[in-house]
Assembly symmetry: C3
Homo-oligomer: 159 residues x 3
Amino acid sequence: MSERKKTNIILFSGDYDKVMAAYIIANGAAAYDHDVTIFHTFWGLNTLRKDEKLQPKKSFMEKMFAKMMPRGAENMPLSKMQFLGMGPKMIKKVMKKHNAMPVSDLVDLAKEQDIKLLACTMTMDLLGLKKEELMDDIEYGGVAAYIADGEDGAINLFI
Amino acid sequence: MSERKKTNIILFSGDYDKVMAAYIIANGAAAYDHDVTIFHTFWGLNTLRKDEKLQPKKSFMEKMFAKMMPRGAENMPLSKMQFLGMGPKMIKKVMKKHNAMPVSDLVDLAKEQDIKLLACTMTMDLLGLKKEELMDDIEYGGVAAYIADGEDGAINLFI
Amino acid sequence: MSERKKTNIILFSGDYDKVMAAYIIANGAAAYDHDVTIFHTFWGLNTLRKDEKLQPKKSFMEKMFAKMMPRGAENMPLSKMQFLGMGPKMIKKVMKKHNAMPVSDLVDLAKEQDIKLLACTMTMDLLGLKKEELMDDIEYGGVAAYIADGEDGAINLFI
């Protein structure tokens, strides 16, 4: 058994600011030599969507979900302070000014740091998301995969 | 002291999708032989409400809360994608198609798996919820009950 | 190394009810002899804002954020049940009736119990919050400070 500490984050939210928080904590933990897993479920799955319009075979309901849900973190709303839709743009402008990384860069950094990005297969089914719509270098699993990681976690969070 | 691992979930949210996530994790952990407690507080308490119109003696404010809050998970909104109120119906339709359990069944399964369902007495007071409005086979406690369970938890989550 | 158990709460939310839950758990854990830290980030930072109109030098965007964000917990909205803005007032009225502490008192109690109140410097930069706008007796840190506390935590929560 590895002596490295584990950080496991369930990323349920699809809000830009919460996804940002999740990836900052994950990257921070990895920098401190934790084995880190981000388990993307429900709206958090949208973080892993490719920013391309793909047309896999879908039911009407699945098409509707696909249309309404953002493709990738950079298209997500904020959890607060939407300012009639201006919120995400404002935050990104301030982030740029402060040389803070946009979420898409935090995701790339996570991959470089060998953070395990896991997509919840059960919610993929539910929301009609296909593997071809998600990033290539990720893993797949269900609640069993989470419990296996989580029960040894030094830091477990639901975001 | 038992050697079984513990999972403790604080269920604060009263959104259908978050309650579903909480109960899926809880049932998963129980399947992996964890002792599991779900501590229902604030809007999460609505999961435990009976779907009957009861008329216990209440103050005006308590009546107003009672009227506005859903009775049971199946009457809850989604945290996202409300689609003018169609969201919960859509999710349930897709869930049915995929043979996924509705939350009310997940609650029944939790009881069968001996998951401890605990109602936060402090918030019950605050929102004016009476014991007769909640399910029969649950337990009651305050923050002390949570800390006692939580401090030995392998997995602790706030949802 | 201390033998006391640790509770670490990341307070991301700026909703009155969630901040209340965070401070009730924190004060409960401290009463049970835990070393407790609340790491205030994003909208949770508003809990630590002084209820005074200060005019530090700010950019236009920073001024806009400052204007839109509540100064202190007592000016926060609820996460649910806004009732056209009446929600927070209603909750506070019921709390008073039940002799429950308002959040501002829970913050004072936390200080008395030596709970470490930490402000996330990265988000302060992002939202343009200056130290002079925050309470005096708090600490400052980034994600490294959180990981250091969190990896030894008995109870770790993201609220």
